[in-house]
């Protein structure tokens, strides 16, 4: 998370996204929820930095300082997520919070790697219903080969159900 703090100081959303991606790959490989939480936080911070109305707000610098402190001194994911939630409440425009979106995005990355929907949702704390909807909008399933297609499965059902 030191790298995340450095990226936050420089206000570099691209670096935060890269850090998030590296972390979620490791988290999925180890099935490590703490690392997944760090990935979620890094991604959430990248989304905050990409919102012009937030970084241009006079309140942003206070939040930024609080976030950097929470990361660098006595790292506490709970404190960081509380700050992000507070920022969302004060300056956010959407029903779905920045953290929920980050959990979804990181879960989708884990699903894209090959973990099941539930395994991915449980890893990051994403809602499984939201994750299914989100994945449906991606091209993840279009990348897959299909040896047993719809026609073959329908034929299988016809055999099983005798018509």
């Amino acid at each position: 998370m030191k790298r995340a703090a450095a990226a936050l100081k420089k206000e570099d959303p691209r670096m935060l996204r890269e850090i998030a991606k590296e972390l979620i790959i490791e988290a999925a490989e180890e099935y490590n929820r703490e690392k997944a939480s760090e990935a979620v936080i890094s991604y959430a911070l990248s989304k905050i930095l990409s919102k012009v109305h937030i970084v241009n707000d006079r309140r942003w610098h206070e939040y930024k300082r609080a976030l950097i402190d929470a990361i660098e001194r006595d790292y506490s994911p709970e404190k960081i997520t509380a700050i992000i939630s507070s920022l969302d409440e004060e300056m956010g425009n959407f029903v779905r919070s920045t953290l929920d979106k980050a959990r979804l995005k990181m879960a989708a990355e884990a699903y894209g790697m090959g973990l099941s929907l539930r395994a991915s949702a449980n890893l990051t704390g994403a809602d499984i219903h939201d994750l299914a909807d989100y994945i449906g909008e991606t091209k993840i399933h279009d990348e897959e080969e299909y040896s047993i297609d719809i026609r073959k499965r329908v034929e299988g059902l016809k055999r099983l159900w005798r018509g």
Binding site: E143, G156, L157
Partner: protein, 217 residues
């Protein structure tokens, strides 16, 4: 009435696109495990965004079957085996959770037919190499298969027949489910894409190919 064990995904997708009546049309009773029922009803009924879908599933009235003690034991063993099939230099990869394995074990009771939209468990049975390749590519590291674990898994659920919500709806189409629509081929295509966008693990090309074939007849 014949029964079909379902995981959460297909029920949620079918509910969202108003196609749950496909089961009554086909005269099939849906069976779920308690954890699936929790996911499709008990949890979403408390969330405004998914409350309506939950109520539709409640109206479907799926049968809730718990695993017996021996099935529970089998499920735990299967979970451990599946999560030890693929491994990287960091160790075995956890790819599935208890709930989907419970559904797989329950389906052994009912014609070994499982309705499941998500693809990981299905690929473990049907094409573990494809799953291994995907894991390797995304992790940027070699991923190997523990053949012994894979063989043991196949020994337990190797002959499970997995279908997705798109397959059930396609089967229903062939039985006349969309006959009331003026353009039933378009209705089929629309329904299949709606399910795909709801999370069913099916590619665009696969749907187009099937719809094209049906339109030609």
């Amino acid at each position: 009435m014949e029964r079909i064990v379902s995981d959460s995904g297909p029920l949620i997708s079918l509910s969202t696109v108003c196609l749950l009546d496909v089961f009554s049309f086909l005269k099939k009773e849906v069976v779920v495990t308690p954890s699936v029922y929790e996911e499709v009803y008990s949890y979403p009924i408390r969330k405004r965004r998914y409350m309506w879908s939950a109520l539709r599933i409640e109206r479907l009235n799926p049968r809730v079957d718990s695993l017996s003690a021996s099935e529970r034991s089998l499920s735990e063993e299967l979970l451990h085996l599946i999560n030890n099939i693929f491994y990287s230099h960091r160790g075995p990869l956890t790819i599935v959770q208890p709930a989907e394995v419970d559904s797989a074990v329950l389906s052994l009771r009912y014609d070994k037919l499982l309705l499941m939209d998500e693809r990981t468990l299905r690929l473990v049975i049907e094409d573990p190499e494809q799953l291994r390749n995907r894991l390797s590519r995304k992790i940027h590291a070699w991923v190997k298969i523990n053949r012994k674990a894979l063989d043991e898994v196949k020994g337990i659920i190797g002959d499970l027949f997995v279908v997705r919500s798109v397959d059930i709806v396609s089967y229903a189409y062939e039985k006349g489910y969309f006959d009331a629509f003026p353009r039933k081929d378009i209705a089929l295509k629309a329904a299949l894409f709606a399910l795909k966008y709801g999370g069913s693990a099916v590619g665009e090309e696969e749907i187009e190919e099937y719809v094209r074939e049906k339109s030609r007849r």
